[in-house]
């Protein structure tokens, strides 16, 4: 994915926070011995941020300029750019950064000083790096150096033409700023002893004395001839200034850097010839090839495959060296090719100087012996290889002294490591005796961009050869900035986040800090009693359908993309636009079942359930968006709108909005040449081929379960269906195949939002049943500070005026409103906010209230209907009673509705603020009222839904009473035999009835009917007639599960001819079926017509199930299903497919041409028009079975008693179809089962559990807060006229007899809804309303004008 390492997961993510992609560390960094953050500084160089680059380098070492020149850059070998072209010139980029920065400009970080002292012997790269990190850690560091200047081999080994002394000096000098003391000319053992160091307070000593003793050739003449000197001594003398000229010829033996250095230095000293003898070939040379090449350019002659035999001398002065050619063996067991002499190939080179450069060892002198330090047979100090501690606990050693000659970067690593362990040692921590090997390098890197072109590696400019020999001027020159930038741009950023920490530096909110940046994916274990899976679905990707050209044509888009186009926050701000030319489309087509109901082009045989409805919705909304005549056509197979109120929407789309519905699956889309339009070819039901041109095509993509979810399911060990949805049983649709794991939403099966929301609550309820004993045990109660007593205080009003971004501030002059408000009476404080409701402002508001001693708050912003609770909580947090608050609605009722009249909007805003202030001055604190909840439920209806909810309550410890109209439990389910998944309903039902009857917390009232009700949430009283007696039941919640039944019909000879049956009549009469040869089912009898304009949802599946069962028991029987649309939504589609495969004949009919039935001898004659054959069919049927509509019970009375609404078809109306699908707007009353809408049994069970779950949120609380905005009677003024009691719609005021005074009105707070009817009717003005007192309202009125 083409994105930066810091990214927002997706554009509209909430919270709108950024994530940092952390994958495996880049290979270059892993390859670096010092673990230098290569990717980080390369990224900085790319941006020209040299100082930041150097700061990144300095996190790991103190020598950016030095290593930018002389590092052998092993990192470049692992560069992934090598897979494309050549490695990045990493070292060169480091140098470019270093050369552009003056180290003294980089501030020394704040260091917390410590008392412990550390002595470091040797000021080479190992010693100085250790000193640097220990000093950063706060330790007192002294470095002792025997030579006149610090730097070790960097100064006395590496010649100036590779490392200019200015660079070296600057970087060493820089270290002194960190408080490091360097004592030169100090030889350990001579000038100061280890013991003295300890006496002076050194708690740890680091020996980094290097390897300065050259190894001998061990050939004749070596010891006896003058002019033989090892390479370290030779270079040291040169760098000390003791050797300034050299005449004659020189031969150097060796293949490393020091051999090349010596040869090149010799030429600069004036040597006539410089030869190098190397016993292996060019490819084995340790020095890097470009270095070898430069050496040869300068005139050094390298003799490969040559070894020295003896040194000749005359008068003890070297005259030359006898050599022999060698050849290399095949690779031996160590993988190296050994050189062996070639006999007879001897040759002689004349020479005045012989310099062996074949290796070095430490010059330990007396040190090891004196300190009892262990020494290996290679004459190296022995240390713990991890901690670098020697056998003497306070002495550590590292660098060449333990490894033999190695590179600067390796010495730096030793310095880093020893600093870490010395610090641990000084803090008294135990040092590890064992350690783990580094884990193998992870290779999860950012993939190189697909079309990454090859790019040339940076060519490093060099000094012309003729200029070199005359002095020590640096040979390699610094690359120019532009080339460096280009080079850095070749970096593939393998590791994602490069840890440059630039984001930390710029984040003003301090959201990204070093700590938060270090956050990693964590694995945590949470102990839970239940798990709920709600992983959802992914939209089908239609790019694999080449015939639909989705991938290749911009004007063919998916339905989810079209949603974005329609959205006000979408790419075209909600303006209907097609992609290719940004024009308004005039004709749009929708194609249904893309990725659903399809086995040919994808493997999704199921119906995705939601696409028909959303396509209809998109078409209608598109038409509403277009202020021109937009043509919308939906191509479909069956229109599946079986949800509550969906059918009406479908009808409106057709009849009112003019959306065209075309029953056909389009087979081909072609581009119309030279336009962006699309030609659609399809075949109608009657076989006619048609063409039509559209501007835009929307593919209604189905739902799919993602591979990640399938993987999750496999990990959890739960079963999946053939469509990869979660396998569930119909009687427990929210339970997976594994105990304790529950499921909801589209993963359970394709479904719409209302069912998903229900199922979510159902899953929560099931999870809660097994966790009931733990209820409330992990709850944190929200605590508010004590309320400030404001009695007797003068009002001090604080006003917060909101700009609401530009919603208010863009129209009204908010600063003017603020200024105006400052002058209003009692106003103590006014401020303006960008968003008063933002979390920051809320926090600040609470502080201001305390600081300014405010005792009334007015927020001038949006509407109290949405935002009052938020602000009330804020002022409550600041210690103010929540009713000392008012809002001025200057957005919804001012700027939004007067957006073209800025002046008046400002004036009106001022007025509204003034009115709010006038009222606020008179506001009083009002204490909360809470009422105990009766923790029991009354359930109306004893069907499957009612019983399920009763068990849900009782199993969680809440008593339940079922009121069942009939004499038996079971309701509509008593007529059913099997669920669509084939489970036995009668067996389930009898078990359910048993459980209910035996449960000690469930009481069943049979032959019972609700005849009246009163009360409110938590405290209902319901009158139930049982037999002849009326009982009053007190309960906390009401569950309405009154059910439904199959409607009667007068159509199709039903009731007139015994061969016409209904629903399960036929199935329950096996005798009839045995002899039947031809059976016809007629769907939608009384559904989807004028009287009942809704789909009964379950009949298609019901008839198909019966048809299959008839075919199974009698394959010769001929079964016809006459239908309008087959609505086997979700995975029920498999049944439809199966029935068709078994030979059930499906014939579609339309509402205006229904089948006709006539009685004939020994049967029935069914006439129906077949739209495919375009002919009338005549079927001689033995039986005709009618799928009549599902209708609700008689709900009117219940609706009146509890004041809960019914829709036009007498189903109950939930508070909100999607957000609150199982509850009523009235608190404490809930809904489930067929009383809500026709539905399959598993949906009823889900809904019952959902409703239980919601109801338990009330019951579990123990008490409910009731609005304290109630009436207040002044008994002194009351004359007992009773007008108030008469007008009160809630029975919340009554007359009470007071001895000697007659009657007086009394308020019942728990019932009072605060409407104030009593107050306005009272002739004595004896009743006032809390928070809406007469004087408060009058104050507003007076301030209005």
């Amino acid at each position: 994915m083409d994105r930066k390492a810091v990214y927002k997961p997706y554009a509209q993510a909430i919270p709108g926070a950024f994530a940092i992609e952390k994958i495996d560390t880049a290979p270059c960094r892993v390859a670096c011995p010092a673990n230098l953050n290569v990717q980080g500084y390369v990224a900085m160089v790319k941006m020209g941020k040299y100082r930041e680059a150097v700061e990144i380098i300095m996190q790991d070492l103190p020598f950016p300029g030095i290593l930018g020149r002389i590092c052998p850059h092993g990192c470049e070998k692992s560069c992934r750019r090598l897979e494309l072209d050549e490695a990045i010139s990493i070292r060169e980029l480091k140098r470019v950064a270093a050369d552009h920065v003056d180290l003294s400009d980089i501030p020394v970080p704040e260091i917390t000083s410590r008392n412990e002292k550390v002595a470091i012997i040797g000021s080479g790269p190992a010693g100085l790096t250790a000193a640097y990190f220990l000093a950063l850690d706060g330790y007192q560091v002294s470095v002792y150096e025997s030579m006149p200047e610090a730097g070790g081999m960097m100064r006395y080994g590496i010649p100036e033409h590779r490392l200019p002394r200015t660079v070296l000096d600057a970087e060493i000098e820089n270290l002194k700023r960190y408080g490091i003391q360097i004592h030169t000319h100090t030889v350990i053992g001579r000038d100061i002893t280890i013991e003295e160091l300890r006496e002076h307070g050194a708690s740890a000593i680091f020996l980094a004395i290097g390897a300065w003793k050259g190894l001998k050739l061990r050939i004749p003449g070596e010891e006896t001839s003058q002019g033989v000197s090892d390479v370290t001594a030779f270079l040291r003398e040169v760098h000390l200034g003791n050797l300034k000229k050299l005449g004659g010829k020189i031969v150097i033996i060796g293949g490393g850097h020091s051999a090349l250095d010596a040869a090149r230095v010799a030429l600069r000293l004036g040597a006539g010839e410089a030869h190098i003898l190397y016993r292996r070939s060019r490819t084995e040379m340790l020095a890097e090839p470009e270095e070898v090449e430069e050496t040869e350019k300068e005139g050094v002659k390298i003799h490969f495959l040559s070894a020295p035999i003896s040194i000749s001398s005359k008068n003890e002065k070297v005259t030359g060296i006898e050599c022999i050619r060698t050849r290399l063996t095949e690779k031996d067991t160590t993988g190296r090719r050994r050189p062996i002499p070639v006999e007879g190939s001897e040759f002689f080179i004349e020479a005045n100087y012989i310099i062996p450069a074949i290796g070095q060892e430490p010059d330990l002198g007396n040190l090891a012996k004196a300190q009892d330090l262990k020494v290996s047979k290679w004459n190296l100090l022995e240390v713990n290889p991890e901690t670098l501690q020697t056998n003497i606990p306070d002495i550590f050693a590292g660098g060449d002294v333990i490894s033999g000659p190695a590179t600067v970067i390796e010495a730096v690593e030793a310095g880093q490591r020893v600093a870490k362990y010395i610090a641990k040692y000084l803090q008294g921590e135990e040092l590890p005796a064992e350690w783990q090997d580094e884990p193998p390098m992870g290779t999860n890197w950012v993939a190189p961009p697909k079309d990454e072109p090859t790019k040339d590696r940076l060519k490093i400019p060099t000094l012309p050869v003729e200029k070199r020999i005359s002095g020590y001027e640096e040979v390699n020159l610094c690359a120019d900035e532009e080339s460096a930038k280009q080079e850095a741009d070749r970096c593939l950023n393998c590791g994602g986040c490069c840890e440059c920490y630039q984001c930390v530096a710029v984040c003003e909110a301090e959201a990204v800090t070093l700590e938060t940046h270090a956050q990693q994916e964590e694995t945590t274990t949470i102990n839970v009693g239940s798990v709920v899976l709600a992983p959802g679905f992914q939209p089908f990707d239609p790019s694999k359908f080449d015939n639909y050209n989705y991938a290749s044509h911009p004007n063919i888009i998916t339905s989810t993309e079209f949603e974005r186009i329609l959205s006000a926050t979408g790419p075209f701000m909600g303006h209907l636009t097609r992609i290719s030319d940004k024009k308004e489309p005039k004709k749009i087509a929708w194609f249904q079942c893309i990725g659903s109901r399809d086995l040919n082009r994808c493997d999704n045989p199921y119906c995705s359930s939601v696409c028909c409805m959303y396509a209809v919705k998109e078409a209608v909304i598109a038409k509403e968006h277009a202020d021109y005549d937009l043509d919308c056509a939906i191509f479909f197979m069956d229109m599946r709108t079986p949800g509550k109120d969906f059918e009406k929407y479908y009808n409106d789309a057709k009849d009112k909005h003019g959306v065209r519905f075309i029953r056909s699956r389009v087979h081909t889309i072609d581009r119309v040449p030279e336009t962006d339009d699309l030609e659609v070819r399809y075949v109608t039901e009657s076989g006619e081929e048609k063409k039509e041109i559209f501007d835009m095509i929307v593919l209604s993509v189905g739902m799919e379960i993602s591979p990640e979810t399938i993987n999750l399911a496999n990990n959890l060990g739960i079963d999946l269906t053939q469509g990869n949805f979660c396998e569930t049983k119909n009687f427990k649709p929210f339970a997976t195949s594994r105990d304790g794991i529950f499921v909801c939403g589209a993963f359970q099966g394709p479904k719409d939002i209302p069912e998903s929301v229900m199922e979510a609550s159902a899953a929560a309820c099931s999870a809660g049943v097994s966790l009931a004993p733990a209820r409330g045990s992990l709850i944190k109660e929200k605590a508010f500070p004590d309320e400030t007593d404001i009695t007797g205080e003068e009002p001090r009003i604080g006003i917060f005026v909101c700009n609401c971004g530009i919603n208010i501030g863009g129209i009204a002059d908010v600063p003017a409103v603020v200024e105006y408000a400052k002058g209003l009476p009692n106003v103590a404080y006014v401020e303006e906010n960008l968003f008063t409701c933002s979390q920051d402002t809320q926090k600040q508001m609470a502080e201001v209230i305390k600081e300014q001693n405010l005792n009334r708050i007015v927020v001038a912003a949006c509407t109290p209907r949405t935002h009052e609770p938020l602000f009330q909580e804020t002022i409550r947090n600041a210690g103010l009673n929540e009713y000392l608050f008012d809002m001025a609605n200057i957005r919804n009722q001012c700027t939004w509705v007067h957006s073209d009249d800025k002046e008046h909007a400002t004036e009106k805003s001022k007025d509204l603020v003034r009115m709010a202030v006038a009222r606020a001055s008179l506001l009083e604190p009002i204490p909360d009222i809470s009422v105990d909840v009766n923790p029991s439920a009354l359930i109306i209806g004893g069907g499957v839904a009612g019983m399920t909810t009763a068990l849900g309550f009782a199993d969680q410890g809440f008593p339940a009473i079922i009121v069942e109209k009939s004499s038996v439990l079971g309701g509509a389910a008593r007529d059913l035999s099997k669920t669509w998944k084939g489970q036995d309903i009668q067996q389930y039902l009898s078990e359910l009835v048993d459980k209910v009857e035996q449960h000690s917390d469930i009481k069943v009232l049979r032959n019972a009917e609700v005849v009246g009700a009163s009360g409110f949430v938590g405290n209902f009283e319901t009158q139930v007639v049982v037999g002849n007696q009326t009982e009053t039941v007190e309960h906390g919640v009401v569950m309405v599960a009154t059910g439904g039944k199959a409607a009667d019909t007068e159509e199709y000879l039903y009731g007139k001819n015994p061969r016409v049956t209904r629903w399960h009549d036929l199935e329950h009469d096996p005798e009839k079926l045995k002899n039947a040869e031809i059976i016809v089912f007629i769907q939608c009898v009384g559904s989807r017509d004028e009287n009942r304009p809704y789909c009964s949802r379950i009949c298609c599946t019901g008839s198909i199930l019966q048809a299959i069962s008839i075919k199974q028991s009698n394959p010769d029987a001929r079964v016809f299903i006459l239908y309008r649309d087959i609505r086997t939504y979700g995975e029920k589609e498999y049944l439809y497919k199966k029935a068709r495969e078994m030979g059930v004949v499906f014939v579609r009919y339309s509402l205006d041409n229904k089948p006709k039935i006539t009685e004939i001898e020994n049967g029935l004659q069914v006439d129906v028009f077949d739209p495919i054959l375009q002919k009338n069919l005549r079927i001689q049927a033995d039986y005709v079975n009618l799928a009549t509509a599902i209708e609700p019970a008689q709900n009117h009375k219940i609706s009146e008693f509890y004041k809960i609404p019914l829709n036009a078809e007498n189903f109950f109306m939930e508070a909100h179809a999607k957000l609150r699908p199982v509850e009523f707007a009235n608190d404490g009353i809930f809904l489930c089962g067929l009383a809500h809408y026709p539905k399959a049994m598993e949906e009823s069970i889900s809904q019952a559990m959902a409703a239980t779950s919601r109801a338990i949120t009330v019951l579990a609380k123990g008490s409910v807060q009731i609005s304290p905005l109630v009436s207040q009677v002044d008994a002194e003024k009351c004359i007992g006229c009773g007008l108030c009691a008469e007008v009160c719609p809630f029975n919340a005021i009554m007359l009470e007899e007071i001895e000697g005074k007659g009657y007086r009105a009394k308020n019942i707070s728990a019932s009072c809804k605060g409407c104030g009817l009593c107050a306005s009717s009272c002739p004595q003005q004896a009743i006032d309303m809390l928070h809406f007192r007469d004087r408060q309202i009058v104050a507003s009125i007076c301030a209005a004008v």
């Binding site: 509407t863 209907r865 009115m915 104030g1316 009817l1317 306005s1320 009058v1338 009125i1341």
Partner: protein, 66 residues
């Protein structure tokens, strides 16, 4: 002479008319800026005296909606 601009006090029921006025805002329906709203918990709360008070203050019209 300046054109006559009436001052109207509107008593709006919190549950319906006030919500409707909010919805008008959400829908960006534009209407003249002459109304000053007093929110009440029910239009039944509007005491006739409030109406008289409004006129007494110099209002040109009173709207009770609920």
């Amino acid at each position: 002479m300046k054109e006559f601009e009436p001052k109207i006090v509107a008593f709006l029921c919190n549950w319906c008319a006030y919500a409707g006025a909010d919805l008008a805002g959400v829908s960006r329906l534009q209407y003249p800026p002459n109304i000053r709203t007093v929110r009440v918990m029910c239009s039944g709360r509007v005491d006739p005296l409030f109406v008289l008070q409004a006129f007494k203050q110099g209002c040109d019209g009173v709207l009770v909606a609920g």
